[in-house]
């Protein structure tokens, strides 16, 4: 298998080049046109200098006088050819650049589009650092060769012209070219094969370095409070060291390849001189012909190098592309149905039928065989010990993930049959840890939805966030920083609550969403929710008795199962675990009653 893959590097490389061209055919053709113009003008400039020497310089010296008109013509010819060359350069350079960056941008859009499309279960298995690396350095690597591509293909034009000229002048001398050119390609093919695994490894290590950096910077507070900067640096250093060794291994091959490919045309030119001298001595060709062939050969050095640049980048391009392909080809996209949810006002009826969920790579299910109904407008509290699967269940209700077994029904409809966007139009979810975007307060609450400032302020009032938002320097326009870094935990949580409230959802799922909010504030939020004229159906994961007291019914959760359900009073009497949990504070020793 690895052997076959190595053999295929060159072929796959060529296919990859074809892919780039197929994606941007117009701009590539234009760049190639520019490059060909450049190539032709390069040969032309050599011809112009030769002609000027023969027709202007030497006659002037012979005659002892110079013709101003002839000199002016010479200058015009040189500048004219140079201008055309410049047009060629602009076309090749600029258009190649645009092509490269377009391919990058297009692929970045596809890759990040996949990140947004793929389900959470996929995300749970892919470290953020790796995903950043895919969108950044892998995309860059995949299309880096495009920059010299037009130049390299344009160089083929030069090779064809010079090859033709040589064959016409002297077929025997042209033989040298026939040896040198194939040799260039053989060396390149060898190079690709040796380089490919090294580039793959370097690209993989780049991603791993990015992964460690991302995790470590995310953990900055823990690193600092435990004084573990040294060991984190050591961890990063180990991987950065491997990357360094990987890049040196890449450099070792490249360091050999570059001088090899560069000395080939030089040795070819010397061979031309040696053989040519004999041919001249034999009278087969004249000196002028030898000079032009030698000159043509020196002209070849640059295009051959340009072809080398393209080929040298291909293994890296493939390494990058191969790392992106699994992302682009990943399936598991959440399937949506054709149905619309009911449009009635007020709460939605929620039904759970035999729900089960198991995380990837874990044998034991996190949620098992959960069945219960919440009538429209009803409030159910889900209570259970830490780690019993309540958050997983909450996520299932709003289709963050799909259950492995069973069905979630919204107004009697399987939520998997709803159109995309329907669930989030009707249901709002507030997670345990509030996530804020690097946006303004307003943007974080509306998320681009059609809400007026009055709506936003009303929601902020319900979430008891109006006071602190008013005190912010720019009010609703205040930027909250990455992940809301400029706010306290309680403030972030209240904005997340306001985000849910402003939507007037028919189903509201609160996953212990008030843990960082003071009890008095929480009480205000709950009061406001109850006072609404079209009360939503609410499922609330909670520990506080005041929150639980709002519920019509309580579901007692243990080890992923809904073990018991009933009123608060009923559970207090019948389920010892429940009583222990909700009464933990009143039972605490040494507390005055």
């Amino acid at each position: 298998m690895p052997r076959r893959r190595r053999d295929a590097v060159v072929r796959r490389g060529i296919r990859h080049v074809g892919r780039a061209i197929a994606l941007q055919p117009k701009i590539f053709s234009a760049a190639l046109l520019g490059s060909s113009l450049f190539a032709v003008m390069t040969v032309a400039s050599a011809y112009v200098i030769g002609e000027i020497t023969d027709r202007v310089v030497l006659p002037s010296f012979d005659q002892g006088s110079a013709s101003t008109a002839a000199l002016a013509l010479a200058v015009a010819a040189i500048i004219g050819v140079a201008l055309l060359r410049i047009v060629g350069i602009i076309g090749r350079r600029l258009l190649s650049g645009i092509m490269q960056y377009r391919l990058q941008a297009q692929m970045r859009r596809e890759v990040t589009g996949q990140y947004l499309r793929l389900p959470l279960s996929w995300h749970q298995q892919h470290p953020t650092g790796q995903l950043l690396s895919n969108a950044n350095s892998d995309v860059e690597a995949a299309w880096f060769f495009v920059a010299p591509l037009a130049f390299g293909l344009g160089a083929v034009v030069i090779i064809l012209i010079t090859g033709g000229a040589m064959v016409v002048t002297d077929p025997l001398l042209a033989l040298i070219g026939l040896v040198v050119f194939p040799l260039v390609f053989v060396i390149n093919a060898l190079y690709s094969q040796v380089m490919s695994p090294r580039q793959q490894r370097a690209q993989q290590l780049r991603a791993e370095v990015s992964e460690i950096a991302h995790e470590s910077f995310d953990a900055a507070l823990v690193v600092k409070t435990l004084g573990r900067e040294e060991s984190e640096t050591e961890r990063f250093n180990a991987r950065a060291g491997e990357l360094r060794d990987g890049l040196i291994a890449v450099g070792r091959v490249r360091g050999l390849f570059d001088p090899l490919i560069e000395s080939l045309p030089n040795l070819g030119t010397l061979a031309v001189l040696l053989l040519g001298a004999h041919r001249v001595a034999d009278g087969a060709i004249d000196v002028g012909e030898l000079v032009s062939i030698a000159y043509l050969f020196t002209l070849l050095a640059l295009p051959i190098r340009a072809i080398g640049w393209v080929l040298a980048e291909l293994p890296r391009a493939l390494a990058g592309y191969d790392r992106i392909t699994p992302v682009l080809e990943a399936t598991g996209e959440t399937p949506y149905g054709p149905e619309d949810a009911a449009t009635t006002a007020g709460g939605a009826a929620l039904g759970l039928q035999g729900i089960g969920y198991t995380f990837a790579g874990v044998e034991r299910p996190a949620v098992r065989d959960v069945t219960f109904d919440v009538p429209a407008g009803g409030t159910v509290a889900v209570v259970g010990p830490t780690g019993s699967g309540k958050s997983t269940l909450a996520g299932l209700l709003v289709r963050l993930v799909d259950p492995v077994d069973g069905t979630v029904l919204l107004d009697g409809l399987d939520i998997r049959r709803l159109r995309e966007g329907q669930v989030s139009d009707h249901a709002a979810f507030v997670a345990q840890q509030a996530f804020l975007f690097d946006d303004t307060v307003r943007g974080n609450i509306t998320l681009g939805g059609p809400y007026t400032d009055e709506d936003v302020w009303a929601a902020l009032r319900v979430a008891a966030a109006d006071d602190f938002v008013t005190a912010l320097p720019d009010g609703l326009d205040t930027h909250v920083g990455e992940r809301g870094a400029s706010l306290s935990g309680g403030q972030r949580q209240r904005l997340a609550l306001a985000r849910a409230i402003v939507r007037r959802p028919r189903l509201l799922v609160l996953d212990d969403a008030t843990s960082a909010v003071d009890p008095s504030v929480e009480a205000r939020i709950l009061d406001a929710l109850r006072a609404s004229d079209a009360p939503a159906t609410v499922v609330v994961v909670a520990y506080r008795q005041a929150t639980i007291a709002l519920a019509d019914e309580v579901v007692w959760f243990e080890h992923g199962r809904a073990v018991a359900r009933g009123s608060h009073a009923y559970l207090l009497g019948e389920v010892p675990g429940y009583a222990d949990l909700v009464r933990a504070y009143s039972q605490a020793d040494g507390v005055p009653a």
């Binding site: 990063f236 996530f435 843990s515 504070y585």
Partner: protein, 610 residues
């Protein structure tokens, strides 16, 4: 309180950046002379072939009395040997250069990484993490990429330029001057372009940082994006960042093309000037026809490296833009500095024994001019006390904790640790190593690493076994929870600990702090997401285990306050009440109000609408 790193001075010259960079990369200088020597040798190969052509034509084939084949053979063989030797020299130079630059860049990467951790918590929060990551990844990669070809090419081109100039002078000093004059405008243009390139490539690097920040947000916030059905809006935000990068990159390309065009134009100008000046100089008898023809050939030796150099300058500016961003990180002074590195002579160790806390007229504000988060706090917390800090959200409780653990330094006043018996030591004089081993804080979101439960606990005390970790959970009354995990303490927690619930993550974070065995433990909402029964069990266990140590606890759940030796009530940056639960609960004031509200909410009585 958003603090960003100082924006790089985009007008900083390349040379200054290089000098700044070399200071930061001592590895780079090692063995540099030999590398440069090899580069000089490498340039020989570039000039030898054109000279061979000229010699063979003039003196071999064109020799008096017919072609001198022996001469041609010797010249060609000699030159072939030189070409081969040059290739060997280039290979040697490449090896050395790649090794030193990659070693130096790895060193730079690691130092920048370390420095990010040395920056204060305020800095780390203000700067975008995705963008910080780009500084130790893609910005350094850009440099490495440049070094793998641009550095070599630059060195060789420079050598070739020198050799070509010398050779041209040997043929004709007048014509050499003509050539040099033609390239003067290019020199000026390149300087201008280089400055412009520095700006545009600076923008490109910045855009990459923004792009990574946008992607990182969409990945970390994946569940929020899905729950609110804002995929398209998020995609638009990312696409906008992608487009901004694309436009910046194309802008940069436009300027880069300007550089090549100028080089091309200068070369044409030189050729035209040579023909005109050469003919007139020839007619004046100063040079021969042969010299002029040879010179027209020689000038390509000069022009080629100039064109290569313009390519290198372009790439160099791109790499320098990344370089600057990395150096800017390293140049950002951490506003909380470890005295062990900043002023070793005045560094002190914390006194032995249990530590108390003293605030000496401490004031803190998150930015100059902002309202004081803590205002002139002056108090002493005796060693061995269990102190609860309570107050409404935003009252300054967390600021208090951050000052005690020196995540931030006060704007005014001093924080001291110690006791009346052992003496008080200003926190700012204590080395981080000493501080972090004695004072540990558990924040609300105790980040977990993508490893096992045991590995995460070990983070607090490296080297302890899985059995020790299991014992620690046992001590904390969490055995039931741990044995309920699929693989006990060996269960993987997933990235950011996301395979566990928020409450479970907090349990691991507390265990992590517990095994660190500190003298002063600060718990900042450390168990806010844990169920009450478990929390009660855990805090009771902690009470016993930390008896004889000082603990500062911040919690909304006032059960902690009920059990504390002493309560500090914070309101709007001031300590408004202080005393035991029994003293405060009966006194009309903030605490009594907070407590009544908490009682009601935890006991299930609805709060009257205010």
């Amino acid at each position: 309180m958003t603090v960003t790193l100082p924006d790089e001075d985009r007008h900083e010259g390349g040379i200054r950046t290089l000098r700044r960079g070399l200071r930061m990369m001592p590895e780079f200088r090692r063995g540099l002379p030999l590398t440069v020597l090899l580069a000089v040798l490498a340039t020989a190969g570039r000039v030898v072939v054109p000279i061979a052509v000229q010699q063979v034509l003039d003196r071999g084939i064109g020799a008096e009395g017919g072609p001198d084949l022996d001469f041609v053979t010797w010249v060609v063989l000699g030159c072939a040997v030189i070409v081969v030797l040059t290739a060997v020299a280039v290979y040697g130079m490449n090896l050395r250069l790649f090794r030193t630059t990659e070693t130096a860049l790895a060193g730079l990467r690691v130092r920048a990484f370390r420095h990010v951790h040395d920056l204060s918590a305020v800095h780390q929060q203000g700067d975008k993490r995705g963008a910080l990551v780009s500084r130790v990844t893609s910005d350094v990669d850009q440099l490495s990429q440049f070094m793998q070809w641009g550095g070599v090419l630059g060195l060789i081109s420079f050598g070739q330029l020198l050799v070509a100039t010398v050779v041209m002078f040997v043929y004709s000093w007048q014509l050499t001057l003509v050539v040099l004059v033609c390239f003067v405008p290019l020199g000026i243009a390149v300087r201008w372009f280089a400055a412009k390139l520095a700006v545009v490539y600076g923008v490109v690097r910045e855009r990459i940082g923004d792009l990574l920040a946008a992607v990182s947000e969409s990945v970390v916030g994946a569940s929020t994006v899905r729950a609110y059905g804002v995929r398209e809006r998020t995609a638009e935000r990312i696409d906008a960042a992608i487009d901004r990068h694309y436009r910046a990159a194309v802008d940069a390309q436009r300027v880069a093309v300007g550089v090549f065009v100028s080089g091309e134009f200068a070369a044409a100008l030189a050729n035209a000037a040579l023909v005109v000046a050469g003919v007139y100089l020839g007619l004046a008898g100063d040079i021969s026809a042969g010299t002029l023809v040879a010179f027209l050939f020689l000038v390509t030796l000069f022009v080629a490296p100039v064109q290569t150099a313009s390519e290198v300058i372009n790439e160099a500016q791109n790499a320098l833009a990344g370089f600057r961003r990395v150096l800017d990180i390293l140049d950002t002074e951490p506003d909380v500095r470890d005295p062990a590195t900043a002023a070793p002579e005045s560094t002190v160790h914390l006194p032995e024994g249990v530590l108390g806390v003293r605030f000496d007229h401490v004031t803190f504000r998150y930015s100059p001019g902002a309202r004081a988060a803590l205002d002139d706090i002056d108090l002493v917390i005796e060693p061995r006390r269990r102190v609860a800090i309570v107050g409404e959200t935003g009252s300054g409780k967390t600021t208090f904790a951050k000052l005690v653990t020196r995540l931030m330094d006060p704007v005014e006043g001093r924080v001291l640790l110690g006791s009346d018996a052992a003496g008080w030591v200003p926190l700012s004089d204590v080395s981080f190593a000493s501080l972090r081993s004695r004072v540990v804080m558990v924040p609300q979101d105790g980040f977990l690493f993508d490893a096992t439960v045991a590995d995460n606990v070990r983070y607090g005390r490296p080297g302890i076994s899985d059995a020790d970790v299991a014992t620690a959970f046992d001590d904390l009354g969490l055995t039931d929870w741990v044995t309920g995990l699929p693989h006990g303490v060996a269960s993987p927690v997933g990235q950011r600990g996301e395979s566990l619930s928020a409450g479970e993550r907090q349990l691991v974070a507390v265990a992590r702090a517990y095994v660190a065995d500190p003298d002063l433990l600060v718990l900042d909402e450390a168990t806010s997401a844990v169920d009450p029964a478990t929390e009660q069990r855990l805090t009771r266990a902690l009470d016993t285990l930390t008896a004889g140590r000082t603990t500062l606890t911040i919690a909304h759940r006032l059960s902690t306050a009920e059990r504390a030796d002493e309560i500090l009530v914070v309101d709007a940056g001031h300590v408004v009440q202080r005393g035991s639960h029994a003293e405060l609960v009966g006194t009309d004031g903030t605490y009594a109000r907070l407590h009544a509200s908490w009682r009601r909410s935890s006991a299930g009585e609805p709060e009257p609408v205010a």
